[in-house]
Symmetry: C2
Subunit: 134 residues, 2 copies
DNA sequence: TGTATTGTTATACTAATAGTATAACAGCCC
DNA sequence: GGGCTGTTATACTATTAGTATAACAATACA
């Protein structure tokens, strides 16, 4: 696995694992049916405790990104398992609000904010005029 | 003070205080020179410990939003004291990335994400076609 | 000049969370 | 049946959030 984890970050390790795997799915590096390393193996690879990995995997399982089987291990789900709904859009708004409002208050103009958003989206997708993901 | 604080939230109280005051500045409810309640008074009003308020105030002080004097109390700064710079834009990108990437991965289309952003900005500013803040 | 109010600092305590460390349990493919 | 999987339980350390007192230091103001 090629997860970029920063042990010094204030962001919990299991959260970083979660975010990196979601990013891997966004980039197409992880697709439906792909298997992930076992909690023990990844723990060894990353020099991190097994339970921390397991915690990250379980968040992703609960959110629909992964399926977990006793012996088969951890497998990436298809998009239908983690497609967004109205509730997600509400949480998204709640999470974005303080960040966006701070930027606005600090004088970042609307078009600059949108440029930042576009840059992030471009880092994870192929730009297609008028087109989109899925 | 009219800060909306949720004691049950996973977000630390002092962070909520910080965000609410920044929001107050964005809305124009707090402008340069305005005084805020003393740490003791606000602690009483909100039923929260003095140190928690103080922690929130000090974050805002360190970030340039507030000035704090021994006896005069806490005062809102002018925009020049908290205007963004290049470093802020980098942190902004870092903070937005996992949220935006997750939304994208879950199938939220680019224009939907931008609609959410616009909704947040509208909640805090007066819509002006082609114009902007400041 | 006092005095009261301000933010500040120090100390101590509880509760919750992150992370580590072992160990054992249970499903299941080969 | 052996070995690998995720799972669960327990225990421990470190850090953070929040509370609770108390005292200190600057300073506006009567």
């Amino acid at each position: 696995m090629f997860l970029e984890i920063n042990l010094e970050s204030e962001i919990p390790i299991y959260t970083q694992i979660r975010n990196e795997i979601i990013k891997g799915i966004a980039l197409g590096q992880l697709v439906e049916g792909d298997g992930l390393p076992s909690v023990r193996q990844m723990a060894i690879d990353m020099g991190i405790n097994m339970h921390t990995i397991n915690k990250g995997y379980n968040f992703l399982k609960q959110e629909g990104f992964l399926s977990i089987h006793r012996r088969k291990g951890v497998v990436v789900n298809g998009p239908d398992k983690y497609r967004y709904n109205a509730a997600f859009l509400e949480i998204l708004t709640e999470n974005l609000s303080p960040i966006i409002i701070e930027a606005y208050t600090r004088g970042v103009r609307t078009d600059t904010i949108e440029r930042v958003i576009k840059k992030i989206l471009l880092s994870v997708s192929v730009p297609v005029e008028g087109g989109d993901h899925d």
